[in-house]
């Protein structure tokens, strides 16, 4: 297992380097960071533009820029100069990432749990009314735009709050500025927690949906395949209790491919998180990317893309390692 792990980790390194080159080129394609400065009216003095050009490394060749960018990143953890000379890209990315990570992690857990439960029931009761309705629901969720459903949930939350005259659901931001009359940081821990949870419910549902739809279909298919296999038939023939056959022999094997699929879908989920955050006005990665695009803050965008790419590569690695843990055939191959 150790050799397998080392091999897999080593493979990730060139992928990461390739990814950084690709991200750099894409960042360069996303626009000229000095565009707004150059178009400003009255015109900015030539000297200022030259200074900015130098500060943003734009007076150098692309390979040099890439080298400087990567050097700063590896040696100092700097993501390069922002167009706003006072902003630290690392700080902005860090705070945005914690907000988004909270949403994504909880959504994945909710989606996977529900997906496994309904997928397994669907497989056991194949072609039953439950199976048909679960199938239809997953098709429906799969065809539903995340932003539309999120906006619908948000409106529903507002409607509920108005009618019950309470603020059960937070619909703007990831927490309130004020809880009752006191500011968020002065409130008791219980109030803070309740407030955060209240803000998370609706976005989590919105984001879980797309993942849930795909994963429940996958669980069902994978479960059916395992249940029709010879070793499960043998387990039954040996006279094992059906519960044991189901959990130990079928489910455990059926879930192996699900780990990979889930990990690989993380990239798509990050995209979904951008949309959900926009609707619920969270100051997470989605918001940051949008402002980065508007300001043409290329190093911010590069940092953003690199972080998402790193997360995806990391999850691919985790999936591979998990696969190795769960399936001995993989690690000994």
């Amino acid at each position: 297992m150790l050799a397998y792990t080392i091999r897999r980790v080593l493979i990730s390194i060139p992928v990461l380097i390739g990814s950084s080159i690709l991200v750099f080129i894409i960042g360069k394609l996303l626009g000229d960071p000095l565009e707004s400065l150059k178009l400003r009216n009255p015109p900015v003095p030539r000297h200022t533009i030259d200074l900015e050009n130098h500060r943003l490394w734009l007076d150098r060749s692309w390979p040099e820029q890439y080298y400087l960018w990567l050097k700063g990143l590896v040696l100092h953890g700097n993501f390069g100069p922002s167009v706003h000379s006072t902003d630290s890209i690392r700080g902005e990315l860090g705070s945005a990432l914690t907000v988004t990570a909270k949403l994504v992690v909880v959504s994945v857990i909710v989606a996977v749990t529900l997906a496994i439960i309904t997928g397994v029931i669907s497989a056991i009761r194949q072609y039953s009314a439950f199976d048909y309705s679960a199938t239809f629901m997953s098709f429906l969720f799969f065809s539903m735009p995340v932003f539309w459903f999120a906006a619908l949930l948000k409106a529903g939350g507002i409607w509920y709050n108005q009618n019950v005259n309470a603020d059960t659901f937070g619909t703007i931001g990831d927490k309130s500025v004020l809880i009752g009359d006191v500011s968020f940081s002065d409130a008791s821990f219980g109030q803070q927690l309740g407030n955060i949870v209240g803000h998370m419910i609706l976005p989590t549902i919105a984001l879980s949906l797309a993942g849930y739809a795909a994963w429940t279909r996958f669980t069902r298919a994978s479960m059916l395949e395992v249940m029709n296999s010879d070793y499960v038939r043998l387990a039954r023939a040996k006279g094992l209790r059906s519960r044991r056959v189901l959990v130990r022999h079928s489910l455990r094997n059926a879930l192996i491919p699900l780990t990979t699929v889930t990990a690989l879908d993380i990239a798509a989920l990050l995209g979904g998180a951008i949309i959900t955050e926009t609707v619920f006005q969270w100051h997470g990665m989605g918001n940051l990317f949008r402002t980065g695009l508007q300001d043409k803050d290329v190093y911010l965008l590069m940092g953003w893309l690199l972080i998402s790419a790193t997360i995806v590569i990391l999850f691919n690695l985790i999936a591979d390692l998990l696969y190795g843990v769960l399936d001995p055939r993989i690690r000994h191959a």
């Binding site: 990814s19 539903m144 735009p145 539309w148 619908l152 949309i275 949008r290 695009l293 995806v312």
Partner: protein, 315 residues
């Protein structure tokens, strides 16, 4: 795995001569008409009620989006004197606060979405299929470099990348189609490569090679058609995903730009009015769902129809 069907003579299954039948006279128990593989798939598809229903809805939506604007009395740009009215006779879907007729806007938006989605599917399928075939066929260094590049592209969230590129290169429907199509190609490439890797070891490829077929011919005439079933099913998924991608992009503000309109833009404009003027929010959203759902069901039907191992009769 489907193989190219060769024209076989009409199969006539004859029963052993039954007693009482004159010698030389063949009693025909039953005959099976010759059908090409595509005809069989077509018949299987037509038996799939949900898929056929979805196909009719899909066609209705296409007619609605492309012919509707020609006959409807308002254009999507027309500002009518009725503003903020709910659904009624003159305005089946109501109007927004400026007096735009939502019925006309939805038709236009659907039209743009369909155009983008089809462009995505065609582009991603063509590029992806060639990408995958080359990669799988040549293996070795070609395969490694082409596939590593696909892997790299797949590590970056598609929506963010598309938003960035669309923001820079402009927001007309075909640019968005090209961007999203290009970014979806690696998915197709992966699938096709996987198929080609197993197909290229099969006897019929060996036979074709022995007959002196060139690499190009092997790839385009022998390998691509055999991967077609999977590619077609994938293409329908791309159409559904494409509509969702385009509308999400437009909703996000980086897709189709006003004064043109798209279903995503309409939802974005209507999201603040869910409780006060719900028609502005529900109609565009429902059309996205209806379109994506019908395409997904068609894809499901095609998957069953094109799978030669599929024998189960649909209920």
């Amino acid at each position: 795995m489907p193989e190219p069907s060769n024209t076989a003579p009409t199969t006539t299954v004859t029963a052993p001569e039954a007693p009482g039948v004159q010698p030389g006279q063949v009693e025909r128990e039953f005959t099976v008409r010759e059908r090409s593989q595509w005809q069989q798939a077509g018949r299987r598809f037509l038996r799939h009620r949900l898929a056929v229903g979805s196909l009719s809805i899909f066609l209705l939506l296409v007619v609605f989006a492309f012919l509707g604007p020609l006959v409807w009395k308002y254009k999507y740009t027309t500002i009518t004197p009725d503003n903020s009215v709910g659904p009624r006779l003159g305005h089946p879907f109501g109007t927004d606060n400026l007096g735009h007729d939502l019925f006309a806007e939805v038709m236009r938006g659907l039209q743009q979405s369909i155009k983008v989605a089809l462009l995505i599917a065609v582009l991603a399928t063509t590029v992806g299929a060639l990408w995958g075939v080359f990669s799988g066929f040549y293996k070795g260094l070609v395969d490694a470099s082409l596939m590593r590049f696909a892997d790299l592209l797949l590590t970056i969230p598609q929506l963010a990348l598309a938003a960035g590129l669309a923001n820079h290169f402009g927001g007309t429907w075909w640019i968005i189609g090209i961007i999203l199509g290009g970014l979806s190609a690696p998915y197709v490439a992966r699938v096709v490569r996987g198929m080609v890797l197993s197909l290229r070891e099969r006897e019929f490829i060996e036979a074709a090679r022995a007959l002196g077929a060139s690499d190009m011919r092997l790839m385009l005439v022998h390998l691509v058609p055999n991967a077609m079933a999977v590619v077609i099913v994938n293409a329908t998924l791309l159409v559904a995903g494409g509509v969702l991608g385009e509308t999400a992009l437009s909703f996000f503000g980086f897709g189709i730009q006003s004064p043109d309109t798209s279903l995503g833009l309409l939802v974005s404009a209507g999201q603040g009015a869910v409780l006060t003027r719900p028609w502005l929010f529900y109609f565009p959203g429902l059309f996205i769902i209806l379109f994506a759902l019908s395409v997904n069901f068609i894809g499901d039907g095609l998957r069953d129809a094109l799978d030669p191992q599929q024998t189960r009769q649909r209920r």
